[in-house]
Symmetry: C2
């Protein structure tokens, strides 16, 4: 496939759904020379009547959360012996960010989790997965428990 291995885009956040999707990919799909691109979309906030100090505190918290997330996935990448990986943070809607980065990187696969569970699963897939499945130009692996 792609020169230097397949390119695999995986959307990650703090949820267990993202982690399970990553694990399923790593245990079932991962090949030695795969290049993994972890895409993260920062949460968005509305600041109404907030002081600069409060805003600064929140920004620090966001940075801290992102660092924790990166460290968590760095450890997972190491545990699964992934040689080449990068962490991309892109603002905007998660689904759009994942599809845009997959196109830019000419990805061979997108891995996405789903929040759909229990009875709800039958009708509700999760807007991120749904967007990705309908807009991606490459194959998509939809993971669930």
């Amino acid at each position: 496939m792609a020169e230097g291995g397949r390119k695999v885009v995986i959307g990650v956040d703090e949820s267990s759904f993202a982690e399970e999707a990553f694990n399923f990919y790593a245990e079932n799909f991962l090949k030695e020379d795969d290049v993994i691109i972890l895409v993260h979309t920062p949460e968005r906030y509305n600041f109404v009547d907030a002081s600069p100090a409060v805003i600064q505190e929140l920004l620090n918290e966001i940075k801290k959360k992102l660092k924790v997330l990166e460290e968590k996935y760095q450890e997972k990448l190491k545990a699964y012996n992934v040689k080449t990986a990068k962490f991309v943070s892109k603002e905007g809607e998660a689904g759009e960010a994942i599809v845009a980065i997959a196109e830019r990187e000419k990805a061979n696969l997108i891995v996405t989790g789903t929040r759909g569970m229990g009875k709800l699963r039958r009708t509700f897939l999760g807007s991120v997965s749904d967007y990705v499945i309908h807009h991606a130009k490459c194959p998509v692996l939809v993971c669930r428990k």
Copy 2:
């Protein structure tokens, strides 16, 4: 995962979409002890004012088409060195048949193609893929060109 290897359900028909999905799985996901279950849903017909001879002829044609399909996939399974596979023909809607068999077999993955192409792809995924993604209890690999 599953005893004796992962169980992978793949929906197949005469289309190139199904074949490309099978190829993507085989080239990117297949492991030596995977058990492949190929699910086929026969087309349905309405007989209005048809003679027994015409019906018999049509049935023979359907059987012949199914045989050609089976032979094609037997060859592909052989080419990819798949050890364990079976061919299941189940009447009904293709999506429902695939999900039902995946549940019965406790599949670890469902592989499905999509008919969505060009501009239409952005809104139209194909009813079979859409049903499978929303109803499957296991991960789903959605393949496209």
